[in-house]
Amino acid sequence: MERHFHEQLQELKNRLLEMGARVEKSIDLAIESLVRRDSPEAEKVIQADDIINQFEIEIDDRCLKLLALQQPMAGDLRFITSAMKINNDLERMGDHAVNIAERAVTLNSRPSLKPITELPKMAAIAVSMVRESLNCFVNGDAEKARELCKKDDEVDGYDDRIFHELLTYMTRDKGNVARALDLLMISKNLERIADLSTNIAEEVIFIYKAKTIKHHLNSSDLDDVRSRS
Amino acid sequence: MQLLSKITRTVKFRRLKEKVIESFFFINGSFAVIVLVGIFSLLLIEGFPALQEIGFKEFFLSSNWNPTSPVREAYGILAMVVSTLMVTLGALIIAVPLGIACAAYLADVAGPRTREIVKPVIEILAGIPSVVVGFIGIIVVGPLLSRLFGTSHGLNALNGSLLLAVMALPTIVSISEDAIISVPREFKNASLALGATRWQTLIRVTLPSASSGIIASVMLGMGRAIGETMTVLMATGNAPALPSSFLESVRTMTATIAIELGETVQGGIHYRSLFVIGFVLFIMTFFVNLISDVILEKYQKVNR
């Protein structure tokens, strides 16, 4: 039997997807503004965060109402509590995008330190993780979510490389320190975004397989889930 | 160990005791069957020889009943069967509308006060012995009818019907009222909530829902009327002929038995023929009651 409640669950899903799309866009834009040295673009990201925050409040409220009014059980319940967490994760991704944008503005106001090549690649992977984790969530694809968790390693690899590269820049020239630091922070932000996507993927597995895989470091299901930064 | 055996002993004793008690009640329960079978077979045994002697055809199809005739004894019961049915029909024509209307009034219209007055009235009416009603028939109704219709006396089928109506009314009223009152309140509420008036609710919902109970009450009233003896004996004039109108005197089957059994020779054909009449009565009421029973059962199923 189709229930009104199930429509509401669907709606909740849609809202989360929409929020996810906005977050992806913010991340993309922030990185673009950095690459293209286009500060107005970064400003847009900062402004857009308000909307994402609104999303978060709205979705949280929605979940709370569903919990209060519909007494969800089993899968539905796990879905809603996970939605609350995913919501939180997305909002934090939004914040990270803002952080990137802010750093971009600072960097854009000063001469370029070096051509930015690695960061966009890293960002592309992070954004794809966001998108895919949400897709897994929507399609209930726990298998794919499990694979996705492995992608996080790639991003961590980028972060490491970028860190070392920037360290070189800093040690090479004192004048580089501040700017390199900014870039380094951007890399850290992207790394966090990827971590948060991993969280989402884990939640998906939790919803659809009813298994808590977080922190089960030696679980054979997923050996490489990292503890969070 | 000792305790265990004690427990087993008490359990055994308990079971035995329960078994004995149950058997005792069962024996009592079988009594009704014995009585019914007894009545049936006794009537048959006592009556059957007469039927053999008289012949089915004459017995059932002749309307000439003259067992004491010095010339030729006649044993045809058609006239009294017709009389019985006629008086009964008359009674029902009067009692059914009146009874149902009264029942509907009591169950659905009357306030609790009125009901508290009328219900005992009905019960008292049911309690009045048939002789008393017959007595009233002779002394009050008879003269009244003779004056009304200009006949020489008022002891006729109409009188019998009127009195039988009075006898049947309490049965009809109380069983119909039961049926109407046990129509679930919810039906009435539903109808009222749909914007029906109380009258519409009564006619369209309540009475139809109670219909099987009402029909059963009519059947039971009919059974009562057919089997009634004293009133008809006293009030219908006792003329053992085929009646042609309600203003003629009639004699019913029951009245015939009541009048004649005392005068017969035990074991004689007259004596036995009265048992056959009894048997026929038995069968007639049996079927009437059976029908009402079937209806009642159906109605109980619906209202469960």
Binding site: - | E18, E22, F24, F25, N28, G29, S30, A32, V33, V35, G38, I39, L42, L43, E46, G99, A101, Y105, V109, A110, I117, V118, V121, I122, L125, G127, I128, P129, S130, V131, V132, V133, G134, F135, I139, V173, T197, R198, W199, Q200, I203, I226, G227, E228, T229, M230, T254, I257, A258, L261, G262, Q266, L274, F275, G278, L281, F286, V288, N289, D293
Partner: protein, 290 residues
């Protein structure tokens, strides 16, 4: 407009119903009025406590009262225990099956058998076959059979009003069947059984047809003395009334006595009814909340 029409319809309908009820009340009031107004004149201690004299044109009805009393007593003794036990069997012990269906069928048919047929049966069985003769005991047993289905039905009704939950509650606590019946069913059913029994008896006391052939006498002034004389003939109120109103040679002269007899009979029966109703009332009040 439409609304008014419907209200008129309702008013007229209710009016007819009310009228019907009035007619019935009127019938009873009329009967009672007629009998009381004409019967009360002859009522006296003499009428009640004396034997009839002078070919029953004078004197009282004492033998008829006593006869009715003794017959009723035999009726009770005969039908009440069997009736109650049968009801207990049917309602508490019996499992739905062929035998029970048969018993119920028998009871329902017995209750429909015309009273005159009981008379025939009682006459043939008790007075002739069992050789009890024309006697109080034959008559009482005949009426006992007549009232048996009523007693059973009334007792069963009473047992049915005891909620199933009382029984389940007891059984679930580990009571045996008989313990359950004794402690949790009978106490609540007995008043109802009593009511039904008395009502049945009141009807039996007014019966005439079944006793016509089993021992009632036109005139039998010898009073029965328990226990030896239960085999003698007797007089009974309803039969006395029948005689006085149809068979007497001076029918007009004894009419006041007939009215008196009718009054006594009716008072007796109404009294019994009242007692029964009173018991039922108390019973209902006590267990209403159940």
């Amino acid at each position: 407009m439409k609304i008014r029409k419907r209200n008129v319809q309702q008013w007229a309908g209710f009016f007819i119903l009310r009228l019907a009820a009035l007619v019935i009340v009127f019938i009873l009031v009329f009967i009672l009025y007629d009998i009381i107004s004409k019967g009360h004149r002859v009522i006296s201690w003499e009428f009640l406590l004396e034997k009839p004299r002078r070919g029953m044109t004078e004197g009282g009805i004492w033998p008829a009262i006593v006869g009715t009393f003794w017959v009723s007593l035999v009726t009770i003794v005969f039908s009440v225990p069997i009736g109650m036990f049968t009801a207990i069997y049917l309602n508490e012990y019996a499992r739905q099956g062929r035998i029970v269906r048969l018993i119920r069928l028998a009871i329902r048919n017995l209750s429909g058998v015309p009273s005159i047929v009981y008379g025939l049966f009682g006459f043939a069985l008790f007075t002739l076959y069992l050789n009890l003769g024309l006697s109080i005991i034959s008559t009482g047993m005949t009426l006992g059979l007549l009232t048996l289905p009523w007693t059973i039905t009334a007792s069963e009704e009473a047992l049915k009003t005891v909620p199933m939950s009382y029984r389940e509650g007891a059984l679930a606590l580990g009571a045996t069947k008989w313990q359950t019946i004794r402690s949790n069913v009978l106490p609540y059913a007995v008043p109802g059984m009593l009511t039904g029994t008395i009502l049945g008896l009141a009807r039996a006391a007014g019966e005439t047809a079944p006793i016509l052939f089993t021992g009632v006498a036109f005139f039998w002034p010898i009073l029965p003395k328990f226990p030896v004389n239960l085999t003698q003939q007797f007089m009974a109120l309803p039969y006395h009334l029948f005689i006085m109103s149809t068979q007497h040679h001076e029918i007009v002269k004894v009419r006041p006595l007939a009215y008196g007899t009718a009054l006594v009979l009716i008072v007796l029966i109404i009294f019994m009814n009242t007692v029964a109703v009173w018991i039922r009332y108390r019973f209902r009040k006590k267990y209403k909340r159940a």
